[in-house]
């Protein structure tokens, strides 16, 4: 009889995680810690900068990371390089045209080569990357870390919830593919733009 009672009390703990619904993570970070870094290595000049105004949502199921879907957006006007004049020119109408194209987005549509170890998942995410008004399909290698019940620790408040950390350190695009001054100023502004992504999303409870 006692064994039955224990089984009755314990089964939800065993079964419910398997039935857990996917969580939606918001990537508008209140601590403004989300970053995308970009690097351009031209023969005459190396340019490195960051973008930190990031938003978007990702739906992630810890039991099925391969079903992850979502969209991340970067405000074009948040792209910054160390020199103020270069920053202004980069955001201007000749280059990124932040006024006309205020967002750079990536919408995940499919995950391949999904490998999960504990709370870490690596995968190749295929989706639509939109920059300067041009959309192209792109595959990005990512690592996702699911940090259960870590939201409160990060925010230092009473808000409880989970975190999803997404990083990608090895992907690049060609600016000519996105009609950003194609073939122009290649000695100073490289065609290849190397990107590094490091973002954390929150799923409050």
């Amino acid at each position: 009889m006692r064994t039955r009672w224990i089984a009755f009390l314990v089964w939800p703990a065993l079964v419910l995680p398997a039935l857990a619904a996917p969580e939606t993570f918001d990537f508008k970070d209140p601590k403004n810690g989300n970053k995308i870094e970009f690097k351009l290595d031209a023969p005459a000049e190396k340019i490195a900068g960051t973008a930190n105004d990031i938003s978007g949502t990702v739906t992630f199921d810890p039991q099925n990371p391969g079903a992850t879907r979502g969209k991340i957006a970067v405000a074009t006007a948040s792209l910054t390089v160390p020199n103020a004049m270069q920053t202004t020119i980069m955001r201007g109408s000749l280059w990124l045209d932040a006024a006309k194209y205020p967002q750079i987005t990536f919408e995940a549509k499919e995950l391949k080569n999904v490998k999960t170890s504990g709370t870490n998942t690596t995968a190749d995410v295929t989706g639509t990357f939109t920059l300067h008004g041009v959309s192209k399909e792109l595959t990005i290698p990512v690592e996702m870390r699911y940090l259960k019940d870590k939201l409160g620790e990060r925010l230092g408040g009473n808000q409880q919830g989970d975190l999803l950390v997404i990083t990608s350190t090895n992907f690049s695009i060609q600016r000519a593919d996105f009609k950003i001054m194609p073939g122009q100023n290649l000695d100073k502004v490289a065609d290849t733009i190397r990107l590094t992504l490091g973002v954390a999303g929150a799923s409050p409870k």
Partner: protein, 76 residues
């Protein structure tokens, strides 16, 4: 010459940065919970080669102007 030397001294004292003048100073940060490392930018000023070029140009213009407005020696 004094302007050029002062500019060189300022550039050297500010770290002798070989590149464009930096107006947004990069600060590395690491989030202790997520482990994410990244950079933030703070407004500042680190003079670069364009600062030296501007100083050299200003020094050259001042040197040239000094020849135009030289006071004539008495008796000449």
């Amino acid at each position: 010459m004094l302007v050029l030397l002062a500019a060189l001294a300022f550039w050297a004292a500010a770290g002798a940065h070989r590149g464009w003048t930096v107006n947004n100073i990069r600060r590395e940060t690491t989030d202790p919970v997520t482990g994410l490392s990244g950079a933030t930018y703070e407004t500042g000023f680190i003079p670069g080669w364009d600062f030296l070029a501007a100083a050299a140009l200003a020094a050259g213009l001042m040197a040239g102007a000094s020849f135009l407005f030289r006071s004539k020696k008495a008796g000449n």
